[in-house]
Symmetry: none
Subunit: 224 residues, 2 copies
DNA sequence: TTAGTGCCCGTACCACGGTACGGGGTCAAG
DNA sequence: CTTGACCCCGTACCGTGGTACGGGCACTAA
């Protein structure tokens, strides 16, 4: 697996050859060694892994700049240069990630609201998505239906989900409940996280709703 | 509220004047009427609503191209267009967002772990994000821990996918093939990345499998 | 009528994340 | 030692979603 030329690496990682050179110019990866001046680049496994990292992080919405920062974090870590600095930067990144998640969650709510309010059949005139989007909403892109209250995240352990379809069902059930602002469901982890106004619904009521759909559900308590 | 000039409209909608002209060039909005040749643009309420729509849809993660498609759907009053189509698109977007959130959550955990176990100084090997992201896996996050074989990422250009459902079908087909370890499929980019053991299946076989499901497929690998 | 906005248009430019090209050099198999 | 695939480098170019500039009209209030 070692000692690959650029073309091989590109194949393995799933990017173009030019892209790898581009990353090199951007200092995302270091210049690989070559046998002689002007010879071919020879890539180590470490660099290949680094490239995998870059690609995956990109899929998560990190920009190349941010990825460079993440990588710098790790590089610094192995040098154990300024451990406290690393920690600082890791915390900053953590904050970034939290914000990203929050923003996506807002987007998700908006989309879920759209999907819910559309009949899903019949002529376009019946589709409320257009109407909903024509409303003059807040500049921050606040969800269309939003009254700020004391939100909590409840985690449920759910059994019996085997596929994305099950996920959808559970999500739908949860979102039907009053007080539920949004949720994410994963059949892989068998877990749901529900953003909820606890003054309007209890965790046990949520679990019961899920059970009503044919799955098992337990409260996982202590959110973080 | 009617009969606004471009500056007023820009204020109301919350975009720049140039941006409105830009949308006009991009045919997202039609040329508004003017009193005389070379006179000022006069915008109707309908156009203002259209601009709101564009803004909101953008905030939800739709590209201008996708927004143009949505608008075209409505403009073509042909009744051929169906609310379910619009709903499909929203759901596909929703699905994208869900996946992204779930993965960001993983990253968050990794970063949090890094911060936690990095109180002052010392070597830290607990950086699970880095390890996690270095795996060659689909964005569904299946942890494809390397049982070292000659794995490769094959990229396929796939035509005919219009929604998240198509994505699912293609993903399913690909994952059924022997030698396929994982894949990510995007109907937006019309592309699939397949992590595969090339000693067990050829790229052409993969493409053929996709075609068998009713889509077009071409191998994108650089320098086949 | 005249000053002062505001808008007209075309064109240029920006950051981002690559992709393409072209004229050459490298490398390994036959 | 030739052939053909692969790689070298620099530079130019692409789509996306805008923003900026600048000379010249359109409108409006004094």
């Amino acid at each position: 697996m070692t000692d690959m030329t650029i073309g091989k690496v590109a194949d393995v990682v799933g990017v173009g050859v030019e892209t790898i050179r581009f990353y090199e110019r951007r200092k995302l990866i270091e210049q690989p060694p070559r046998p002689r001046e002007g010879g071919y680049r020879i890539y180590s496994d470490a660099t290949v892994r680094r490239l995998h990292f870059i690609r995956r992080a990109q899929e998560l919405g990190f920009s190349l700049r941010e990825i460079a920062e993440l990588l710098a974090l790790r590089d610094a870590e192995s040098n154990q240069a300024d451990a406290s600095d690393v920690r600082q930067r890791a915390m900053a990144k953590l904050h970034d990630v939290d914000q990203k998640i929050e923003q996506l969650r807002r987007i998700r709510q908006g989309l879920a609201a759209l999907v819910d309010c559309c009949p899903g059949q019949g002529p376009l005139q019946c589709c409320s998505i257009f109407d909903a989007l024509e409303q003059n909403a807040g500049p921050t892109g606040e969800p269309i239906i939003s009254e700020e209250t004391d939100m909590q995240t409840i985690r449920l352990s759910i059994g019996g989900m085997h596929c994305g379809g099950c996920e959808e069902i559970v999500r739908h059930v949860l979102e039907q409940q009053t007080g539920v602002k949004g949720c994410s469901v994963s059949h892989e982890s068998g877990e749901a996280r529900v953003a909820v106004d606890e003054s309007r619904i209890s965790d046990e009521q949520l679990a019961e709703a899920v059970r009503g759909a044919g799955y098992s559900a337990n409260i996982m308590n202590t959110t973080e």
